[in-house]
Every structure is written in C-alpha cells, then in structure tokens.
Symmetry: C2
Subunit: 558 residues, 2 copies
Amino acid sequence: MLNEFKSQKDKELIADWDALSRIFIRPENKATRATLVKYMEQILFGLHSFLNKNVGITQEISLKKLSEQFTDTHLNKHPEKKLKDVISCLIENIAPHAVNVASPYFIGHMTSAIPFFMVHLKTIVSALNQNVVKLETSKVVSVIEKQVLAKIHRLIYSNTDMFYQDHVQNTVSSLGVFTEGGTTANLSALWVARNQLLKPIPGFEGVEIDGIAKAYAAHGLDECFILVSKRGHYSLRKAAGVLGIGNKHVIPIDVNLKHQIELTHLMNTINEIKRNPRKAIIAVIGIAGTTETGSVDPLRQIGEICHQHHIYFHVDAAWGGPTLMSEKYRHLLDGISLADSVTIDCHKQFYMPMSCGMVYFKDPYFMNAIEYHSNYVNRMGSVDLGIKSLAGSREAHSLILDCAIKIMGTKGYALLIDYGIELAKKFAQEIEKRKHFRLITSPELNILTYQVCPESLQLALLNTTVEEKKQINATINELNRSVQRIQRESGKSFVSRTVLTAHRFQDGFVDDVVVLRCVLMNPMTTITIINDILNEQEAIFHQLQHERTDPCTLVKEN
Amino acid sequence: MLNEFKSQKDKELIADWDALSRIFIRPENKATRATLVKYMEQILFGLHSFLNKNVGITQEISLKKLSEQFTDTHLNKHPEKKLKDVISCLIENIAPHAVNVASPYFIGHMTSAIPFFMVHLKTIVSALNQNVVKLETSKVVSVIEKQVLAKIHRLIYSNTDMFYQDHVQNTVSSLGVFTEGGTTANLSALWVARNQLLKPIPGFEGVEIDGIAKAYAAHGLDECFILVSKRGHYSLRKAAGVLGIGNKHVIPIDVNLKHQIELTHLMNTINEIKRNPRKAIIAVIGIAGTTETGSVDPLRQIGEICHQHHIYFHVDAAWGGPTLMSEKYRHLLDGISLADSVTIDCHKQFYMPMSCGMVYFKDPYFMNAIEYHSNYVNRMGSVDLGIKSLAGSREAHSLILDCAIKIMGTKGYALLIDYGIELAKKFAQEIEKRKHFRLITSPELNILTYQVCPESLQLALLNTTVEEKKQINATINELNRSVQRIQRESGKSFVSRTVLTAHRFQDGFVDDVVVLRCVLMNPMTTITIINDILNEQEAIFHQLQHERTDPCTLVKEN
C-alpha cells in the first residue's frame, strides 16, 4: 500500500507518502531524537527568553498594522515550512506580538503566569491524546477523572467518607464534570437547574424532551427567572439565552457598598415573583469572587433563603473556588456547601493552562437530568463520561489537575492564594496613601478597583448638587479611560478597566464609574512592581494635566 | 513579602514560598535546564516506547479492579511527588492502563494517531497561554485565528477574493468560531438557526432576550422542528434539548440503503410541517460523514430543497469536512457550499490533539444573533473573539491548525484522506471474500460496518418468514456483541460496535442490526493489519462455535 505513493519525490517537505509516514512515527535514531528534543528546548526556553526580554505587554505595533499582515486567505497546497521553521517563526515573529500574560506587570486580567511544570503536564496529555467522552478511548483516565472530581467535591461539600466511597467510582452517579471553562460550567449548572424545575409530570415528558413552550404550559407558567447580583458574570445571561429562558429573565439584584448582593432586594424579588403563580425561579446564583471586584456574596444567607423557598442555589466560584484550599481565607466562602451546584475554573486559580472549567453538584443524581445516550458510545450503564456532559469529545484536563495537586499540595496553592489576597491589601494601602488616587473597591479576595482621581475633584464631589456630581464623575471616568489606554499602549504594564454600573458612593450618590481593575494572582508581582505601575499612572496623569488644563477636554475616545 | 514564608523549611517539595517561586521561574542554570529538557524527552520517547510495547488497547486489568485503585478522595495537603516522579508515574503506571489510540490496530473510533509535531505545537500554545476570549490576552493570536477561519471558510465556500478581503480581519463580521468540539459546534450552529427563525418582530425582542415561550407566542407557533437523518449524531438531539426546543422535535428522517437521507421522506416531512401554520422548521441538517457509517447525504439536493422552502441548512461535516482538501474525493461533498453553516472537527481528520471543533457561517453577519458584551471585555466594536462564542476563555487552538496546515499543506492532508478511503475499499473487498462475514455498509468515506455472519445463517435469512428472520437476526446480533467484546478484552486490536436502528436489508426486511464498525484514519494501518484483525475475529467465531453448537446460546450479555 505504501508503495503506491512512493513515486512522488518532493523530499523536502511532507509532499509524499514517505515523508507523511515519518510524521506519524517518532524517530528512534539518535540524531532525529536529539532534534525533536532540541525543538522542545527551543519551545521551553526560547519562548522564555522572549518573555524575559519583553516585560511589557507587546511590542508596539498597532492592531491595524498587525492585522494587515494576516490577510492572505489561500490555503497552501504544498507544505510551506518545516517544523523547526514553524517553531522559530512562532518564537521570533509571533510571540513578540502575543501578550505576555506571564509578566508580573500584567495584572489586568485573570490570565497570568502558570508554573512551568504545567506545560510538561499539558504535553503529556496531548501525547497520550485520550478522549474522555468514552471509556474505550480513555480507560484509566476516565477513572482518574472521577477520582479528581470526588476530591474537589469533598473540598466544597465535605461529605462523609461513606458518601465518597459510594460515589467516587459509581457508574450511575456523577459528582461533577469538566468543561471548556467557567461559561460552559455555568451553562451546565443552569441546564440542570432548568430541567429540575421543568421536570416531567403526568402528560409531560420534561423540558429536555418536550421543550420550553410545552414545559411552561404543563407547569402553568408564563415566565421563569434567574436571580443574580448586578456583578454576575455575562456568561449567566448567555446561558439563559442559550437555554431558551431568555436573557432578560436574568434579574440583576442590587449590590451593597462592598458589591455583594443585597439580601433585602433578593428576598423582595423572590417574594414578588412567588406572589404570581404563573412565575417561577429556576435558580438563585451567589458569586464567590465577582469578575470585576472579587467580591463574595453572603453565600450562607443566600443558601438559607433558597432552602426556605425551595429554590435551586448555584454558586459561581469560577474565580474564588480555590480559596477553599487556604486555611486562612476559606471562611470567606462560608456557606458554599449549601449550593446545589458550584462552578470552579481550573485555568484561573488552579493555575492550569487555557482552558478548563468544572461544575460540581451536591446531589450525585442531579446530572441525570441531562443524560444522553447513543448506539456506539455512551450506552446505558456504561462508565462513559460523555453521557452527562455538554461537550462530546474532550481532552483529559483532569489528569493535569490531578498531577498539579500532587506536585503542589493544597498548601502550595494556599500559599499562592494567601499571597494574592495580602498583596491586594497592601496595594489598597498604597492607593489610600496617594492623594490623586481613590480606592473604589477594597479587596475581599485578590481583586481591587480604583481610580486616578485628582484631589481637587475628590473634594469637589463631596459637597455639590447631583447634577454637578454627574459632570465631575464623567470627567473622572474620561480621565481613567485615558490613563489606562496610554499605559497599555506604552507597553510596560497592564491593568484593565471596567465600568461598575450604578455604583453607589458612600454618600448615596449613584452613577456609573470607570475604574482601573487589578487581579493579583502572579506570585512574581511584588509591592515594588505595584508601585512602579502606580507611579507610571500618576506620571501619565500629570502629563495629561500638563498638556491640557481642562481635564474635561483632555481625553480622546478609546 | 517573600520573606514571610521563608521560615518554613521543607526543602524537598513545594511547601514553602521559595520552592513555590521557583516553579514560576524557568531556571536559567544549565543543570536545571537540562533536567527540564530531559523530562520532555521522557514524555516524548518514554510514552512512545510504551506505545510500541503495547500494540493492543490496554493491559488486561478489569475496569473494576482498576477503579478500586482510585478511590481515595482526600486532597493531599503537602506535596506528594516531584515533577519527575509524576512524569515517571504517568509513563510507568498510568499510560499502560490508558488506551493506545495511536496503535494501527485501534481502528474502532475517530480518535487515532496524530503526527508527532502536534505535540510540539500544543506545547507552544500552552507555554504562551494566550486566552482568545479577548484581544488584551491574545493580540496577534486573535488576528491569526480570524485568518485561519477565513482560509477554512474559503475551502468550504470558495467566495471571491473581494469577499475574503472584506471579512478576514473585519471586526464586525465573523466567518466562524472555534469550539471545544463538534458537539458545541453543532450547538452553536443551531443556536444561530433558532435565533434566525425566532427573530425580533414588533413587540418582541427576539428569542435570545425574551425566551422561547414568548417567541412562540409572538411568531404564532406551537412547535419548532429540526430535521436530520436517522444517522444524525446524538449531539443534535442534545442541542435541541439545551436550546429549549425539546429533543423530541428533532425528527429522524429515513435513510436509503446507503444510509443517506431519503429525500422523499424529507420533502414529505417538510410539506406536512408547513401545512400547519403553527409549526415551523428551525433547520434541516445534512451529514457529511455519519458517525456510524461514514455516509454522506446528498448535500446539493438538500440545499436546494432548503433554498426553495427558505429553511436554514446546516451541514454536520465534523468527520468528513477535511475531505474537501482531497482533489480526488472532494466531489463527495458537492453542495456543501449551499449550507448556512458547517461543522468541522479539528481533532478528527485535521489530526489535531483533543479537543477542537469549528463552525462556519455562510453569511458573515449570522453570528450577530448570538452576540454578548460585558463591561470589562468584549466591549462593543472591539476585536474580542469572545463576543460571539458559546465559550468564554478559550485556548488558542487556531494556532495549531494554522501551523499544521503550513507543515502538511492541503496535499499532505489529502494523502491521508485518500489513503483512508482507499484502504476502506480494500477492507470491504476482504470482507466480501470471507464467507463468514457480511458487509453491512460499503465505505463512502473511510468508515465501514460489517458483521461476523455464518454462511449458514446468511442463507437461512434469504428465504423465510419475517418472524424467523427476526430470530436469526437476533442470533447474529448476539454473536457480534460477543466477538467484539472478546477481541477487545484480548487486547490486541479494537473495532467498535454499534446498532444501526431500523436497518433496511436489500430484500426490504427491516430490523436493528449490531455491526462491527471500523474507522480507517491511521496511515500506519495496512491491509495486512486489517487481515490480522479479521483473522482474529474469525478465530473467535470458530472458538465460540466450537464451545457451543447452538449459536443462539453462545452469547454472554455485554
């Protein structure tokens, strides 16, 4: 069979069958073996030296200029490059225009440095190339996945030994599932919650089979709602859209000054909905680490309210979940064990490479509400993990998490968590010391928001009319947009910005505020680096002030 | 800050801050550098020698015994193992119980060997750790993703240069999106299709905002349907369940003897639904490579029917899509360019590591129907790829595909595709030569199904009553379950089995048939290996026959 293709003789690249075959056989002779290992060295260390050289975010090239270089849309028929040239090109030409998320000066997002062994673990997973949709393409890896899920379930719910003995390798029950990320983890949880509420009743086979329209008719409903604070992640609205509930039925509940859900508003909303028998609540969501401010909702109280009203309680702990490993700070998540389901991201504070999420269920049979079978895989009674999962074919992320925990211990993770929270507190103190800065949200976990805010404007805000306050606030907002953009473009450091909608000030004044947002998860970020970043922002502010006297006009739209 | 942790002195593992810091810094001294590279060598070649030693599927240990070893559900507080021990353990203890999907004797599923350079590419992506949800954590990688999407879009739709110039780097339009796999690609397509049909009209903001119940009321509908052949992938039912349409509204259309959709049945079903103004069709789906039989639906005809009736046309080419790169066989997918959307999997016939899918849209503005924004990312008008995507944070799979195509050329891929299709044809010929085998579905692409079927029973099936046919068929089904199980457990080779529901025989007799199913995608699989596999099956059959004379009783339930 192989001979058929041997006539073609373009030896250079993979244009004939011979060359093609070689790429499927890992070479056994010393020279080629050494070459392949050298490529790995190039990847591990060549990229690293780029990362060291470019402490900032990216080389200064505008997005427009950059994208102009990537407009050829023809597929190459013949091979263009050898592996080594592809690797060199990635390291020399692409990496410098990627974002150095590993820089300790990159503190704007939830993507950061990862321990270098994670790259090794990811490499193993890809070399094994198991597909955990079914046992026949994963075997032991499916078994390990169930074990890891039980370990993290235990971290959240602390059930009895007996409980975990029963369920760890149980082929009928499921303690949770790995997902592509927090978005699909939240979607999976709300999918289960929707199906729990709109369950089968006589004459109706359940929402999964019959659909939402018939479900509402059968259950005598017009509308169903999901309740979450104003700081809820946008994936929750998306999930409601996908699930056919409609994203306007995600009701944003007010937050207090600490950006935690207002329990009174929550209870009033629940009571108002319940007064109408044609309305129902699919789930109330508590957040353990809001994306924008790192705030943690009062989980225990929300759990108790949900219990009292028989409402499904989901906790979005995509960010904050791993705090449970810190003996010092796990109390911040008190009450999480009351949740019917919990989302945690692995590529966030488990420091795994992109991208991996998880969702856990208190009741090991809840996921039966989303069970799917087929004739060739996921047959009834099989151990196939694909039976209860939004995704089909899936990478064995669980193996990475399992190994990472073995290497780090929960104590290793706790050191990282504690460092981040305490660094954030010191960061806040630095801001309070500086007269042209204002802290907007104190860090509860390791996220904080603040503004560059000239002392004069801070004073002006105090005693004036609401109308003038709005105007001053707008000026401050513009100023912060400018400072963030200029700092980002200068390429040394990166903080992000967001808008806290309807932010309530101490004096009761409410308006949208543009804030600078920092996420302290990189253990290489020190207070010295933070001061560098603040100094740069202050210098940009003074430069802007110097250029234009009226701060209202100093800003170019970004 | 660092000093606070220095008092703890468990030097061995990552129990103190010093040790912890080191895992974030790639070491620069020669010795440690050499160690890290050695680990990579261990991964690349240690795993490989396992793969060579274990030609079969796994070592013989029962699932029960295996899972008994993975029942400890306590998280270790202190580190358990060093990286090198974790790697050794994975290679020595875990890999032998994983599934050797790379074996040329593993021809049962769509997971197979991958070119070894894919592991290098995956390593690069994980070392860069870009998050393509937003430009601020990916920059050039987002730009490359748009370019790759345009290239594959062109492969499917062959639009004009002008079209691709307009859209390749357009920040408002989208030619497609990368997903976790085919399941979420199909879900994304049907999400768009649902939102297209149940679009905003006066007094109604669209299904995404208002939900399905209100959408049906506004559009005057009771039920919506999705039409796909009986061979449709189970992800389509799952998508209908998730999207609130209800999976019973996925109507299975009959197939012909070649397991392609019956156009008459399709048209009749469309007409019947359209006669009722309170019913509508969300999408008709054509399949380019059914999971079970590799059949390709008559895409052009389906496309024309959809065009005529103004129905959204989706093609599930998760398996068959890359056939478009073969000049010899791309005609099999004729008409795919009529599709409103197309699913293609990268971890299938693009030979990428687990897991990655893609979905493409003919109209670059269709994806606006699933657009989401937030205050801190995915702002209006930004280039952030997360605006139109089911997932949030995402790995930069696109970089792997881009590099792989550069290394292979479409011609390299075409060699693989052609080889698989032609090997499948020879496989079919081998089956036809053997008197105790029966070919059930001839390969259209590189998938075929067959049965071990004693000559006597084949003859007996020909001229008898329907009742007796059913009984004989049941016997054959049991026999094939046994053969597949025994072969799998003996560990040398693996073919899968499935049930073709309501399979129509040549003589018009209809019943469920249990078949052996083979997927020919590994270029290391030769006709000699296939004969080994068939010989083993024949030997198992004779052994079974020898043990029990009555084939009806020879079978133990699997």
